[in-house]
Subunit: 254 residues, 2 copies
């Protein structure tokens, strides 16, 4: 790292008004030049969706020494692409996303806009870190996260990350018990079992709300779910490769 301040791009999927985003901004401003790009609406559950059917809008919300903030109508993935290719005049040194209100550990990563933004950074070789708190509440208590968020970010700014690798960081909710530390682990093999809430509207037509129960079928000790249960901050190195490599040699359709 040179003496030059690093350029840190911040985004999230809970929208521009989320307290988790404001927390992350406050933790990043002492560490570098900060550009924020966030959606006007909540984009939870948008995963890696990109906007190709409708045009994108960008509003410059705030601009001051070392700090710029944009609001868009796009998804988290759109936002990182807009920043990289349209708004910034240089490549960011780091993309941080969050702090998400709710877990993105285990299977949740695939539904996560927070982590889509991180993966979108890693695709271009930019270090990316997603932070999520295991508390869905809009008024969640973020008071215990500072030390861990800053420790992880400082280390990545100092040492960089291997090409195309991002970090999925999840933090237990605030409690009377202090966090035990940071554990690097793998994504647990868990799933959601959906339970649709079927209702009738005032005109007699059916509609459904998606709800579900989280089921962890992975009792191993080296997973993010296990680390979180034991009150550790979990860190999973992630990349965009869906290939089940051990089956490439085994399958044959000729």
């Amino acid at each position: 790292m040179t003496n030059k301040k690093p350029l840190i791009l911040i985004t999230n999927d809970d929208g521009i008004n989320a307290p988790g985003l404001r927390k992350l901004i406050s933790l990043m401003r002492p560490l570098g030049e900060v550009v924020v790009i966030a959606s006007e609406k909540v984009m939870s559950g948008m995963a890696h969706a990109v906007t190709i059917q409708t045009p994108l809008r960008v509003t410059l919300v705030k601009e001051e020494e070392g700090y710029t903030e944009y609001m868009t109508n796009g998804t988290p993935s759109d936002n990182v692409k807009l920043a990289k290719y349209q708004l910034l005049d240089k490549k960011p040194d780091l993309v941080v996303s969050g702090i998400n209100h709710g877990s993105n550990a285990s299977i949740n990563i695939i539904y996560s806009g927070t982590m889509a933004a991180v993966l979108e950074a890693t695709i271009d070789g930019i270090p990316g870190i997603g932070f999520s708190l295991l508390d869905y509440d809009h008024k969640a208590d973020f008071s215990h996260v500072d030390e861990f968020v800053q420790r992880i970010v400082r280390k990545v700014l100092l040492e960089g990350m291997p090409d195309d690798i991002g970090l999925n960081v999840n933090i237990p909710r605030a409690s009377d018990t202090p966090l035990k530390g940071v554990k690097v682990c793998r994504q647990a093999k868990a799933r959601w079992v959906e339970d649709f809430d079927a209702r009738k509207d005032p005109y007699g037509r059916n509609y459904y709300w998606m709800t579900g129960n989280f089921v962890n079928g992975d009792p191993a000790l080296d997973t993010d779910q296990k680390a979180l249960e034991e009150n550790y901050v979990s860190v999973v190195p992630v990349h965009v490769d869906f290939t089940a490599h051990k089956y490439v040699e085994k399958l044959n359709f000729s």
Copy 2:
């Protein structure tokens, strides 16, 4: 496989009126009992998005011996969840998705609703196969795909698939040269370099259309992109694990 007809769930991300969906239905009906669940609108680029901010609607479009068709306002991922947990009274034997108008090879999988539906199946241990044609045209020529789609589906129905593994199948566009066969391969490490088309609306406000150029930075011979370039059908075994396993032991944030 017993003598009982397998239950095949079909979905896509190009919407219920896409010719690629109709082609896939025509190829699956001789092979089993078919249930179709597709979105009323085009859901391209929706990735693994799920609908949690608004309610879901389902319309029964058609019901006859061995065939049922539903239309929804949901994403591909919603549709598979709706079918699994609300509409079907038994677990499908297979989920097939597509035939997508356009490639889902290499990096495209992460933006793909077609492949999200497949992954959603595999999360519950249901074999899933996504079919995509390398032709974005609504009027794309699907005349050369039958043999390959049926060969792959028959084999999976007969032999099953390892738990939590799905298939990402891409098919070169129709040409005078016959397809060379099927190759099992890994996802190429490629990316999109975005080129936003900035315009002004009639009221003088800026807006952007996302466009981009596909860049394959992976010259290896064992990738899906390479197989497709050589006029093979590419098959990549896929699963939902973002962990970059080789870095789990190497990283340390304590």
